[in-house]
Symmetry: C2
Subunit: 411 residues, 2 copies
């Protein structure tokens, strides 16, 4: 937390809409940090549906396992998040800690433990003392409010240098529904989500299967299309909650309902906005990089090549050095193992064509390219010339800041 | 080349044996570097066999394509290596440059161009002017010698901070045969070899298919078991040459010949020694790390998990910070996508058990572990408890030095 704020931090933060049926409180439980909030309790009115996308790590945390088990029922009454300790790889103690926390929260808000959703982020491998939540959650339940969203956004931060908030609205049946979302994440970020927590709340009346389908669809081009360091966390959690408290809207129970698409578009906006904020707060980041691969044999192939480029330490250090080192981009294309023909490759930085047909473009202008590379938001486009496959991955550069932050984190 | 010498550099260099039938010269062709040799010509007597393992990059360099085409014939009369320019991603010009260089070399040593083997290393994407070799190779051919091996080892360096040499001998039919090898490589190093060049020479009489079989077998546990930064180069080349000039040995024409195994063991020693030197010269490296995974469902699965750990930026920065952050090791196991059971995992740093059965070991001693982490050579062992699969991958830590070297290389 003592690290300098990312130069890519937003200049201002949005005032997110209150969501009918959602109220929250934060507190200082002293789990790891001093003098800052580290616990979030969000309470939902009865009838709230829930959907989630969780880490694919084979060593997922106890809280992730808990959420996975309870998602199938599709209903939620509260969310408890703590920062500072991920309660991951804590064995039997970790499972007990989760159960105990859910029990404490269920008593505090008055529901079944299975309606409590949990997320923990921070150090892996240290036992989390659930006893710390005992008095705290009870007390939090007495002062729930529906604003300001900045508070929950701050309480879930770890190495983040700025809070992440995004909101959107959509109109269905002549009624405006709102989506308010928060996220945290800065390192250990890679597709399939990494140490990334995000919670999205809406008053739209979405049945759980519809909410799940929308979330699964739009996570692909948002949280699963970002990478900071190729490392995937044990604790990734994206949860969406729909209270259905927007007045005068019939429940949306079928994904084919045209209203689902309308809410879905707003949800996609919120997820994408939050995902980009995570990249812009990538540990040590000084530049945001959008890597697009087109002309691949399939979208999947394009995605794997884009990820190979976005994950490459040599590409990322070159970008940090403001060097349009397209040779390293070629290297990263080649190592992806996907179909590629060296002699058909083209590479652009922004609108500048630097290579085509497998060699440096005749029109290449070093000075113009160097000027472009000094920018804060860079676009790198690779054309493979093989087919119609296309994908975009978002990342940041790799700098001394990353080493400084991660070379001395636990101790 | 201005970077400080790796703290892991050897304290002294071996005096490699001259190999009957092999002679060489180096020169300053001024391809990129000033005041240092950057071209190597190695000449072989007629009858020399050759075998090779080349990059799997889909964007391999023109020189790699050339070698691949000519390896099938199995005979070699000369090897030309240049440093400073990889002649990769240089399109038609690159192919012409390779053809021209082979022509020049073939005239200089008196053989067919198809018997010339080529390797280039350095910047990708810059055209290589073969004209620079014209007078140089002719002149080099007039002053070939069989010692000292330090000269070719130095001529092929790029960001390497020390030359890499290794030798071994074996006795077959009562005769001592020698193997002398050199390598270069420092960054863009990952299994499947990366910007890694290595050339190994022996006077043993090995038929080309036998040499190829031995090379393929022993590259798995040497050059293909190392990683510096997970990046794989377009130019990886490992070539082995056997002159057969050791007196009084019948040719070894069958891999089942017991003498093949004897020479193979010596070859394995040389390859392993060179591969470890590459890791120890990893860009910015301050520690050598041996990652062993055991108890996996198969050797292949163990290898993929070991590589996931060895490639993880978070594991590597933790090691740089002398932090036994086994939580990050768990993360890297989990992200590998291979079968793993969190609650059966055990992790050791050296002989110190830090985690077992999915949680911190009861015996864990922070002070002892910290003391161990201050060492220069670290061993990290993960037990999965699932089967008999086992693999080891060798890597180094990730430090500010890596960022400094790669953030400003091309320009």
């Amino acid at each position: 937390m003592a690290h300098p704020v990312s130069p890519l931090a937003p200049k201002s933060y949005p005032e997110l809409a209150a969501i009918a049926g959602v109220s929250f409180a934060t507190a200082e439980a002293g789990i790891k940090y001093k003098n800052r909030t580290d616990v979030l309790l969000v309470s939902f009115e009865p009838g709230t549906t829930v959907a989630g996308v969780l880490t694919r790590s084979k060593c997922s945390s106890a809280a992730v396992d808990w959420c996975r088990k309870n998602l199938s029922a599709g209903t939620a009454r509260a969310l408890v998040v703590n920062s500072g300790n991920a309660n991951a790889f804590t064995g039997v103690k970790g499972r007990e800690s989760v159960r105990l926390t859910a029990d404490i929260a269920a008593k505090a808000v008055g529901c079944a433990p299975s309606e409590i959703f949990l997320a923990s982020t921070g150090v892996i491998g240290e036992p989390l003392d659930a006893g710390k939540f005992a008095g705290v959650l009870d007390q939090m339940a007495t002062r729930l409010a529906d604003a300001p969203w900045m508070e929950p956004a701050r309480a879930i931060m770890t190495t983040d240098t700025f809070p992440k908030l995004a909101g959107a609205t959509a109109e269905i049946d002549g009624v405006t529904v709102s989506i308010s979302g928060i996220a945290k994440g800065s390192g250990m970020i890679a597709p399939d989500m990494a140490t990334m927590l995000s919670f999205v709340f809406t008053d739209a009346p979405l049945a759980a299967p519809v909410l799940q389908a929308l979330l699964a669809r739009h996570v692909k081009t948002s949280f699963n299309a970002i990478t900071v360091d190729s490392d995937t966390s044990t604790s990734d959690t994206l949860l969406a909650f729909a209270t259905g408290k927007a007045d005068g809207i019939e429940p949306i129970t079928d994904i084919a309902d045209p209203r689902a698409e309308i809410v879905g578009a707003a949800l996609a906006d919120v997820l994408f906005d939050l995902a980009i904020q995570v990249v812009r707060d990538g540990e040590g980041a000084t530049k945001q990089v959008t890597v697009t691969v087109e002309g691949a044999v399939s979208d999947e192939s394009a995605f794997r090549i884009a990820k190979s480029i976005a994950d490459s330490p040599l590409v990322k250090t070159a970008i940090a050095g403001e060097d349009a080192n397209w040779g390293r981009v070629v290297m990263a294309v080649g190592k992806a193992g996907e179909p590629a023909d060296r002699d058909k490759l083209s590479i652009r930085f922004g609108d500048i064509l630097v290579a085509r047909d497998g060699e440096r473009a005749g029109s290449y202008d070093e000075a113009a390219t160097s000027a472009y590379m000094r920018g804060e938001e860079l676009e790198l486009t690779v054309g493979l010339g093989l087919g119609e496959g296309r994908a975009t991955v978002y990342t940041c550069d790799l700098t001394h800041g990353y080493i400084t932050i991660n070379g001395d984190y636990r101790s």
